[in-house]
């Protein structure tokens, strides 16, 4: 910290404090600040309150839930029994493993295909560049329709295979365009100098373009991962085997049809476990990965979306 010596010390501000205003800007009124705060707080409350209830109920014992007459608002006697039961083998454990694997494999596949395609299209003036771009863009205007797609997937023999959960919706043209926009913003001098040093396109992509695009890669990875994690419709269309179902589909059965998960009926009947806590625990398991991951990627959202929007 020797370099600071000849500079005047910067006063330390709390990270909660407002930065200094420009001289021309008037101080806000107390009522104005309070009103803004209130609206924001209400909006955040509307989002967090339901989640709070879900989490707390999932952690409550049978007794607490019965006393509250249903959902629990104030945590009392925290217990992890619902999670223990759900994750000790059985339907939900299997569904969770399926969801995790499909998400991992699918995201990896989608990213590989998308990054390659985005880089391949990022050099304006390359052969066929315009045609290929048109082919991509056109899909944003039409959809072939549910029934023909359904018949096609069936004809390809993908029914009752996990490939049916990955291939039909593996890439999003929008994501590719965002990536492409970002790749195009990377300075041409950099890639050209690598080319002169003898690097091929794959090496340039891997060693120069991708390390420079970490922010947008993180955002797009999150988008794809969330897509796979949240998907249930393809599974409901193409899978018949109950044992193959991913977590979201099992959650529909548990929460909407109020069924107990297979194998847990006994524990619920004997009074050990509240059916409600089980439902809530499944919901927490479904939302946890997303809720944990997205804030980390959040600061890149605007940048990623902006480059995509401007240059797409």
């Amino acid at each position: 910290m020797t370099a600071v010596i000849d500079k005047p010390p910067v006063p330390q501000r709390s990270r909660w404090a407002a930065p200094p205003r420009p001289t021309w800007e008037e101080e806000p009124s107390k009522a104005g600040v309070a009103g803004k705060g209130l609206v924001l707080a209400l909006a955040c409350f509307a989002i967090l309150f339901p989640l709070w209830i879900v989490v707390v109920t999932s952690l409550s014992s049978r007794k607490t839930i019965d006393e509250a007459g249903g959902l629990v608002m104030i945590p009392k006697g925290i217990t992890f029994i619902a999670y223990k039961e759900l994750l000790s083998g059985g339907q939900v454990t299997r569904a969770t493993i399926v969801s995790v694997l499909v998400t991992l494999v699918g995201t990896l596949f989608s990213m590989a295909v998308s990054v390659l395609c985005a880089y391949g299209l990022s050099r304006i003036g390359s052969l066929g560049h315009r045609w290929l771009l048109m082919l991509l863009l056109a899909t944003m205007f039409f959809s072939a329709g549910l029934i023909p797609t359904y018949l096609l997937v069936q004809s390809l023999g993908l029914t009752d295979s996990y490939l049916a959960l990955i291939l039909p919706s593996a890439i999003s043209v929008f994501n590719i365009l965002v990536l492409r926009g970002f790749f195009m913003g990377i300075s041409q001098e950099l890639t050209d100098s690598a080319r002169i040093d003898g690097a091929g396109d794959f090496r340039i992509l891997w060693q120069i373009v991708m390390p420079l695009s970490r922010a947008v890669l993180a955002v797009i990875t999150l988008f794809y991962a969330v897509g796979y994690w949240s998907a249930w419709f393809n599974a409901s269309l193409y899978l018949n085997d109950q044992d193959m179902m991913p977590l979201q589909n099992v959650m529909i059965q548990l929460v909407q049809k109020q069924e107990a998960p297979v194998g847990l009926g006994q524990a619920i009947k004997t009074g050990q476990l509240s059916g409600l806590a089980v439902q809530m625990a499944v919901m927490v398991m479904a939302l946890l990965p997303v809720a944990v991951l997205s804030p980390f990627v959040q600061r890149h959202f605007k940048k990623g979306m902006l480059t995509g929007a401007v240059k797409g």
Partner: protein
């Protein structure tokens, strides 16, 4: 790599040809370049083959899963029999043609018109109630100067966008369902329980509310991006000219948002016939098709559930064609307004 020395753009090609004729004219006698300075197709292919190779997996996926099924729409003109063969394509080839019979039947089907009506009602309701909220929220967040408060509230507001529809509907059910917390509270105080989740007459508001809860926060992102690109000089100049807080919003902030608002509005209209397929499908059973059937679920019900594939494909085709028209028209309007639209002109 041999292709690496070949210039990629035409401007570069011209440039190098003028400056260093010896370098590019390795084969001066052979016509490697066309007269106008453009490289020959073969040479360009050799230069760009790696790039083309890279796009191949994505192009293949699109061709198979987005383009190929278009052909499958011919079942709309067939009396498609799924039991002819376990393979859908073989069954398609063996099914009898019925011309436009499926379409005639559809236009006389009150259920179809009910689905059309529900779709349009939901679209207009969402436009009216949903669309303005992200704009207001973005203005609000943008006016918050404390960085911590901004970051935290943004993180919370974005969150529900990443939840699945199954989860969002489950959460709503826990709050407003017959056994939900609100119902419970009312019963504790001697009122009747609620049936919001199963009431057909309020279903459209329920769907809109769910949409707002899930995506209104996420919607602010594009407006915030637009706002962050407004030059602070404009605000200062406005303030110098005596514009107060509200005047600056009216004359600087809102004009900056205008193009984004117009574009999103146009795109939304182009997408009018698609109103939350998964979301509505998940709640269709609880509310009944009278209120919950939209065009997408109509196709799903008739095709996947009732195995009436020809009829469902006909409905899907009509929806697809009308949607395509709407998107193209919306883009046209965007271009007329001087915006970029989905693609550049």
């Amino acid at each position: 790599m041999s292709h690496s020395t070949v210039p990629r753009s035409r401007a570069e090609a011209d440039d190098s040809a003028q400056k260093t004729p010896a370098a590019s004219g390795k084969a001066a006698g052979t016509p490697r370049e066309k007269k106008d300075g453009k490289l020959s197709l073969r040479l360009r292919f050799r230069r760009d083959r790696v790039l083309i190779l890279m796009t191949l997996p994505a192009v293949l996926l699109l061709l198979v899963f987005n383009y190929l099924p278009i052909l499958g729409n011919i079942v709309a003109f067939q009396d498609y029999d799924p039991y002819v063969s376990s393979n859908g394509i073989v069954a398609m080839l063996n099914s009898p043609w019925v011309g436009v019979e499926n379409f005639q039947r559809m236009f006389e089907d009150p259920d179809f018109w009910n689905a059309v009506q529900n779709t349009l009602v939901l679209f207009f309701l969402q436009l009216l109630l949903f669309f303005p909220i992200p704009i207001g929220l973005a203005l609000l967040i943008n006016s918050v100067v404390r960085p911590r408060v901004r970051a935290i509230s943004q993180a919370i507001l974005y969150l529900p966008h990443f939840f699945s529809w199954v989860l969002v509907i489950a959460v709503f059910q826990q709050l407003f369902g017959g056994a939900g917390i609100l119902s419970q509270l009312l019963r504790d105080h001697g009122y009747d329980g609620l049936s919001i989740m199963t009431d057909p007459s309020t279903f459209k508001y329920l769907v809109t509310a769910e949409g707002i809860w899930k995506d209104a926060g996420w919607g602010i992102i594009v407006f915030l991006a637009a706002l962050s690109s407004v030059s602070p000089d404009l605000y200062e100049a406005a303030a110098m000219d005596g514009a107060g807080r509200w005047r600056r919003i009216w004359h600087v902030t809102l004009p900056a948002l205008r193009p984004v608002i117009a574009l999103l509005l146009v795109l939304r209209v182009g997408d009018a016939l698609t109103v939350g397929f998964e979301q509505i499908l998940l709640q269709r059973d609880a509310v009944g098709p009278g209120a919950a059937e939209v065009l997408d679920t109509f196709v799903w019900w008739n095709g996947v559930r009732n195995q009436d594939f020809g009829y469902a494909a006909a409905a899907g085709l009509v929806k697809g064609v009308v949607s395509l028209g709407l998107v193209l028209a919306a883009n046209k309007v965007a271009h007329l307004m001087g915006e970029q639209g989905v693609y550049k002109k």
